[in-house]
Symmetry: C2
């Protein structure tokens, strides 16, 4: 593992690492912000999963999360959204499948299954690697994300006991019921929709998965709201399953990082409270 960037930010360090991942069988990059408090004692970790087309850089440069993380003494991990340059024909052809669009699933269908193991990458590669850092309190890990990454945060939190708390920005809340999810799941997992249910927040909840609480922010001027995101389905599933959901519908906000930047402080504070 090597450090490829190291910036001072809000009194802490914004690091970017490159490492070989055994799950995805390729080199991967991730960003880790260490707040100033990490100099003196281990700090909790907030994982942020990014959306379609993004890598670690988008949230790191545009969301301003470092400010809130420095305030609360929380480290901030931003992995990439897929393997890169793994020589699969078509991997770079579309924005919503292949490179930049790993959907946080473990692919089972050729040719994607050899490298597109993003669920395993997050859980078994990058999290254990970051947990080895003495600056991190590996017992306190929370997860959030945006759009495809909001889907990743919800499904990883619902399907494991690895995360203290979960939140999401404009998540793809019911991917089995939208074009983005259908395309990704059929491509990575095949046509049997039974195999899709492990990667759909609403289906997971219907099938009995649960968490203590969920915070979701959703912009009402989001260009993908009706077709792709389906917050109403998440709301119905949570209601039926008695999972407390705080779904904040934010008038005027779209799907961009202007939306995320406006509410990231609330999400960091939400997780900070649950780390106590």
């Amino acid at each position: 593992m090597e450090i490829i960037h190291d910036w001072t930010s809000f009194g802490g360090r914004q690091l970017v690492y490159k490492h070989h991942a055994s799950s995805t069988r390729c080199d991967m990059e991730f960003a880790l912000y260490l707040p100033p408090q990490a100099m003196t004692a281990p700090v909790p970790l907030l994982v942020y999963l990014s959306g379609l087309t993004c890598n670690w850089e988008n949230v790191v440069t545009k969301a301003g999360a470092q400010r809130s993380c420095a305030k609360h003494g929380i480290a901030f991990l931003a992995p990439d959204t897929s393997p890169r340059d793994v020589s699969i024909p078509g991997e770079d052809e579309t924005y919503d499948f292949g490179a930049g669009a790993g959907f946080y699933v473990d692919a089972t269908v050729a040719p994607w299954e050899k490298h597109y193991q993003m669920r395993s990458y997050i859980l078994d590669d990058v999290l254990p690697l970051v947990a080895e850092n003495k600056a991190i309190d590996a017992e306190k890990v929370a997860i959030t994300g945006h759009s495809m990454g909001g889907h990743g945060a919800l499904t990883l939190a619902l399907s494991t006991d690895r995360f203290n708390s979960v939140s999401a920005f404009a998540p793809i809340a019911n991917p089995m019921a939208c074009r983005w999810g259908q395309r990704a799941f059929s491509g990575y997992l095949g046509d049997d929709q039974l195999h899709w249910r492990a990667y759909d927040a609403c289906a997971l909840i219907e099938d009995g998965a649960s968490v203590e609480h969920i915070l979701v922010d959703q912009g009402l001027a989001d260009e993908f709201l009706d077709e792709q995101l389906k917050p109403d389905a998440l709301e119905a599933a949570c209601q039926k399953a008695d999972i407390p959901l705080t779904l904040r519908r934010q008038p005027g906000y779209d799907h961009s990082y202007y939306f995320i930047a406006s509410f990231v402080e609330d999400h960091v504070a939400y997780h900070a409270e649950r780390f106590q």
Copy 2:
């Protein structure tokens, strides 16, 4: 004038305009953030001048200034750094001269003098245009900037009475004494260094220009510190002229937007206090 972007951000509006400017004789773009307070009463304006290679987008997406401006009720104006696409041979050839590198001077040398009138653009085009907006209190205008834009902020504040207060991030404080400034001034203004003095903060101060106070942040890990920025020269000039300068040397910070994002809150608060 037309609005080409309109994002909701921290309860306010992040707007981007396109307009024809008579000073630069071309279409120009600028960004204007209106905080939520501007919905009910006119708010003061903070002008931010960007550095080499930037346009309005860098500070708008990376600095997080909207958060502080929403807190204090201040509008935030980010103009472009030069004319664009004006068909001058070589305008796009180098990062430190021509497009993206207008240096906030009124060029006097052909072929640049026809379009590269960035001092006049700021003072006589974009500021009057923004002042027409009923959401802006045109009596309260402050200025800041980064690197080349820090130079612009200092020299515009020192050479006019248009600004309530001035601050800068890692300004090119003595351009006559560094390669960036020498190249730009000889190209835009010709070889007679007497004509350069109106665009050099230290020379302006030596020649009697003054302001009430200056706030400067400078990263000590800034890769351009010794060769290009010359904060010591600004400090010496201010000391000799009895101009109160708060020069904060920040260990670890480089020249990037990670540095600006870390301290933009302090600068917005500094100007907010002086608007009272």
